[in-house]
Symmetry: C2
Subunit: 322 residues, 2 copies
């Protein structure tokens, strides 16, 4: 791997921002660039760097893929509007669910999402925005490392996977934060004036809630994990943990409701202590919190009869389940 | 339900034993009885009551169905040999795995095991032991209650399900502990002189380790859950919990081994605080114990990359997963 990491202790955030803004401005020249904003700290940082470098010549899109958390699209758009940026919202929900139909293998799921995102949705936007020939992307150092190691195929590391986007899709990828791990990205984000809800936002995977569904991804199953995710985030926001998530399992387990057998769904909760997702330890949540999580999820999410808590470190576990 | 419960506070164990021994002796008369011993507190208690009533006219069988825990058959046989009873060991492993092939539905699994046990294995033993016309069985009050309520089909409650064993299989069922819940059975067991390893033994389900496998039951998958069960029992024996168990899931999750992606197995650990299994609360195990469980299971059981801990109460969960 040729990319050189900039460690947190080496990082001068103001200098880094200045250099990256210059670099983006110099690569794009008088041209236009586009980028996709997910609302995570990585893509938000890249959006701000791009906006500083290019102003209105950066077109920022938020793709509603149907796999986002509750109210996420609206929240992200309004946050950036307050920062003086216009975010264009594209509703591509049907297209993503169509592409995911019948797929159960996690790698195929990631591929379907990547393909739909780049070729069917973003590719078409690029065709429409004829002047834009540059794509800003929030690939970070851990993404590259894990992809190279073969642990996980990150949706945003096309180049490292040998896909030449210039030739295949007609645009050039710029990855301003590729030398930083998550802890450094957060420092840069804060220095860019992003609000705490973004610079301290817990990581969210590329395939969004589809990464939180074992087995087939359908609108109904996404709705189950979306409701569970909302509860987990409400309950665990105060913990200061690195990341917390809900996973909908495909296995069904026996439960009992009103004295009758109920063969229902299982949700797995994970909550991680970690610096940069390379390694992680399950957070030692108090049992009252675990009880409340189980109680709320089995009461508020229809069909769920069982909730478990992950107790395995990474490695051999990973942060997400698929 | 016509059966009248004898609550723990009403129970006079010596009187109960005396009455049941008389009752069995009077029903069987000069005849012979047989029973199947699993080594659990229920069937062990019934074996002792039967032995006191009938002596050598009770033929006790231990069916090795391939679904037992490590070393279980040998341990049970030697325990009872020391108590002066002969236990006949029958190896029926192939027959059970044959019957379970391809079955994924939990109810069908239970049915296949019940059918194999009563018709193919125990039925044939009964045919061989021509003189025995009585079957002693360890059905307890909670079994009956849950079956009547439709929560679970217990393998040993044929009568409550409307199956007339006299007509179908040629023997009559005697259920000496049907009025007792587990806590009372333990008191009777202790008063019968059974060792603590039996009267304080944690409950084990009728379908044995097959109840701990979500999805198809194969010798390989049973071996995985058997290894995990051994670790869970070693680590949690000292907790004094009502029951603790390991469940092999069918869902696979992403893990990482030696820096490479490893799509592997998940084990769910459950540990219950409960009096009689009617309701239950997950035991508040210290996190060091949970960490040790996860570390041992992912290290010692091949293929396992993830371990979770159940945090849901019963209800809406049940003690076992299938």
């Amino acid at each position: 791997m040729e990319i050189k990491e900039i460690k947190l202790e080496e990082l001068d955030p103001e200098k880094f921002i200045e250099e990256k803004v210059k670099e983006i401005a110099s690569i794009v020249g008088e041209g236009m660039a586009i980028n996709a904003l997910s609302g995570g700290v990585d893509s938000s940082t890249v959006t701000m760097l791009g906006h500083r470098a290019l102003g209105d010549r950066l077109k920022t899109y938020f793709i509603e893929n149907g796999l986002m958390r509750e109210g996420e699209a609206q929240k992200v758009a309004s946050t950036f509007r307050e920062l003086g940026l216009q975010v264009k919202l594209v509703d591509a929900r049907d297209r993503f669910f169509e592409a995911l139909k019948g797929i159960r293998d996690p790698e195929e799921k990631r591929e379907a999402i990547t393909r739909t995102f780049y070729r069917d949705v973003f590719g078409k936007i690029v065709m429409k925005e004829r002047e834009a020939r540059f794509l800003l992307q929030g690939t970070n150092y851990t993404d590259v490392e894990e992809t190279v190691a073969g642990i996980k195929r990150q949706h945003n590391v096309l180049k490292q996977l040998g896909i030449d986007t210039q030739e295949q899709y007609g645009y050039k990828v710029i990855e301003p934060i590729i030398q930083l791990r998550k802890d450094s990205v957060r420092v840069v984000a804060r220095n860019l004036g992003l609000p705490e809800t973004i610079y301290n936002r817990i990581p969210f995977p590329g395939p969004a809630l589809a990464a939180r569904v074992i087995g087939e991804v359908t609108p109904e199953r996404i709705e189950v994990v979306r409701k569970a995710t909302k509860i987990v985030e409400e309950e665990l926001a105060e913990t200061g943990a690195f990341q917390f998530l809900a996973i909908l399992h495909e296995d069904k387990v026996t439960g009992v409701r009103e004295g009758k057998r109920d063969f229902g769904l299982q949700i797995e909760v994970r909550c991680w202590d970690s610096v940069d997702a390379t390694t992680g330890t399950p957070t030692k949540l108090p049992y009252e919190k675990l009880e409340k999580l189980a109680q709320r999820i089995t009461t508020e999410v229809p069909g769920v009869v069982s909730v478990t808590y992950n107790i395995t470190k990474k490695p051999p576990s990973t942060i997400e389940a698929i």
